[in-house]
Amino acid sequence: MNAQQPVSIVMIEDDEGHARLIEKNIRRAGISNDLKHFLNGTDALDYLFNSPEGPFHNGPALVLLDLNLPDMSGTDILSRIKGDERLHRIPVVVLTTTDDKVEIQRCYDLGCNVYITKPVNYESFADAIRQLGLFLSVIQVPSNAD
């Protein structure tokens, strides 16, 4: 990871319970990066593009994205990120309950980096998130500030 600029994790998840469980398990995996949680797409996009601390103006980031959001579809956010000159290198991990083949394909077509289905079984879910944490701790995220 970039020593000067720690990667901030942006989680877009409308279910607070899921968000809490995801955060808990990421922390348990030993990831202490800053984690911003948004409950809807509008706030998340505002942060990504407009906030002074957001990835558009500042620092590298990684996005955890749920597809079922109250105000817009997660795929819209994905296409906005991947279609932007400055943000398109940000890794996006789609983390959702949908395991529909067509949906998965569409996400990868739009440029999603990882697609993870939330398992209902809690042990597997926790396991998956912890492994995601381990994964996050080793991947290199491009810096888009320069």
């Binding site: 279910d15 319970g17 899921h18 469980l21 808990k24 079922n68 309950t97 949908t98 529909d100 939330k118 209902v120 079984n121 809690y122 042990e123 879910f125 926790a126």
Partner: protein, 498 residues
């Protein structure tokens, strides 16, 4: 109105047929008449020819009579053997000629009478000729001449001539009558022929008109039928698309519902796990408190320590069950959305492959499976058919009757364009009251000693419906079950041919 029309049409048809028959009958009569007239004409011609023959014969006779007369007269003037010879020769012709004439005119009483008189006269003439000639030849020429003069005086030859003329006149009269008859016969034939021609034209025209009318009717009927068919097809297509839409809606609904139900379930299970972990920590704390400071443990705390794990256990098993049910709905809805691709399926091979995947269960339970040879082959989606039969055979291996070694028979036959398969077992059977229920989602029957969510048969029925078939059961409790799968031989693409 349509009934009246049809009745009218039927009566008209009968009349038309009758008229045509009458027309052809008249034609036949006309033909017979023509033949009859032609025959009559032939008869008239023959009669005319007969008349000419009679006249010829009469001429020959009269010539012979004249020659004899001339020869006798000549001999009396200048006796010469040639003249005697001429007389003898011609006299020989007279009697046969008379015979022939009498024979030819035997049918005419007037001629007969005249000819009898003529014959008598000629016989007399011939007799006097003999006498005159014998006197003349024995040198009594004068006496002969006297006799001849005597005969001339009574004008015997003139009388003969007159009689001959009367016979001739009679024949000419007959000839005229016959010729006029022949002429009228010809006219008659011409008229009949003309009438036949007109009749032929009429019958032909009527037949043509009838054929035209029938053809027109037929064409109109065909067009109307075509129109009806097209309308029907359009109506069916419309209904089918409505159904298709409704079906799609249900599929989507099932998918969304099952999907959105999973989300809260993740939380329930997740936080239950968190609770369990926390409970363990509290439990160990309580254990420690119990050993180090037992006075801190109240009965309530004691209950909490026992109740919490139990409550968590129930939440867990219930959420797990709910998860399985939701997954089942999801699977079914996904199955409904899957695009079916028909291919040729050799059913004996398909069933044997399925049995291989179920081999462990079959061998463990020592079940005897018999698959009939020559099962009808299908043109269907492989996965759908495999799932359908796998579920049925697996059920047969699952629900055995205690103490009875399992036996499964798979049979199949073709019936028209459909294939009918039967999967028979000797297992515990299904109560007739439950025959419909077992095909419903999440419903089961009999002793609940086997794992399962009550999905298999619902899935089987959904698959059978989707393939254009049905599945039914024939069973009594404790007497085994037979599942009957009735499928079209060839899968008709949804919405196009149903």
């Amino acid at each position: 109105m349509p009934i009246d029309l049809r009745l009218d049409a039927r009566r008209f048809n009968r009349l038309a047929l009758l008229a045509t028959l009458v027309g052809f009958g008249l034609l036949l009569v006309a033909f017979a008449g023509t033949i009859g007239s032609a025959l009559g004409n032939q008869r008239a011609t023959q009669a005319v020819r007969h008349t000419y023959q009679v006249i010829d014969e009469l001429d020959a006779l009269s010539l012979a009579v004249e020659r004899v007369e001339t020869a006798v007269r000549g001999y009396l003037l200048a006796p010469s053997p040639i003249r005697a010879e001429t007389r003898r020769r011609n006299e020989k012709l007279i009697r046969p000629g008379l015979d022939r004439l009498q024979a030819m005119t035997a049918d005419n009483p007037r001629q007969k009478e005249t000819l009898t008189r003529l014959r008598a006269m000629i016989e007399d003439q011939l007799a006097t000729n003999d006498e005159i000639m014998s006197q003349a030849e024995t040198n009594r020429l004068d006496s002969a001449r006297l006799e001849f003069v005597e005969r001339v005086k009574i004008k015997q030859i003139d009388q003969i001539r007159a009689l001959e003329q009367s016979v001739r006149n009679e024949e000419v009269r007959l000839l005229n009558a016959r010729q006029s008859l022949e002429g009228s016969r010809r006219t008659q034939i011409s008229i009949i022929l003309a009438a036949t021609g007109i009749l032929l034209l009429l019958v032909g025209a009527a037949t043509y008109w009838l054929v035209r009318r029938y053809t027109k009717d037929l064409t109109a009927t065909r067009d109307r039928l075509h129109l009806l068919n097209t309308d029907l097809e359009a109506a069916v297509a419309e209904r089918t698309s409505d159904l298709q839409r409704a079906n799609d809606e249900i599929q989507r609904f099932a998918y969304i519902v099952s999907h959105d139900l999973r989300s809260p379930l993740v939380n329930v299970m997740g936080f239950t796990a968190e609770l369990e972990a926390a409970n363990k920590a509290i439990g160990s704390l309580l254990d420690r408190a119990e050993s180090e400071a037992p006075q801190l443990i109240t009965p309530e705390a004691q209950y909490a320590r026992e109740d919490l794990p139990e409550a968590i256990g129930f939440i867990r098993s219930s959420t797990q069950k709910m998860d399985r049910l939701i997954n089942a709905i999801l699977t079914l809805s996904r199955q409904g959305r899957r695009v079916l691709t028909p291919e040729h399926l050799p059913m004996n091979m398909v069933i044997n492959d399925l049995l291989t995947t179920l081999a462990t269960q079959i061998e463990d339970k020592r079940i005897d499976v018999h698959v009939q040879d020559g099962l009808p082959d299908l043109q269907h989606d492989r996965l759908a058919i495999e799932q359908l039969f796998q579920n049925l055979i697996e059920n047969a291996t699952k629900y055995l009757r205690p103490g009875v070694p399992g036996a499964i028979a798979v049979r199949g036959r073709q019936s028209g364009k459909r294939a009918i398969f039967e999967i028979e077992d000797n297992g515990r059977g299904v109560d007739p009251n439950d025959h419909e229920r077992i095909f419903e989602l999440f419903r089961r029957s009999g002793t609940q000693d086997q794992r399962g969510e009550g999905i298999g048969l619902a899935h089987v029925r959904a698959l059978a419906y989707r393939l254009g078939g049905t599945v039914t059961i024939r069973s009594q409790l404790n007497e085994g079950s037979t599942f009957i799968v009735d499928l079209p031989m060839t899968y008709a693409t949804e919405g196009t041919d149903q």
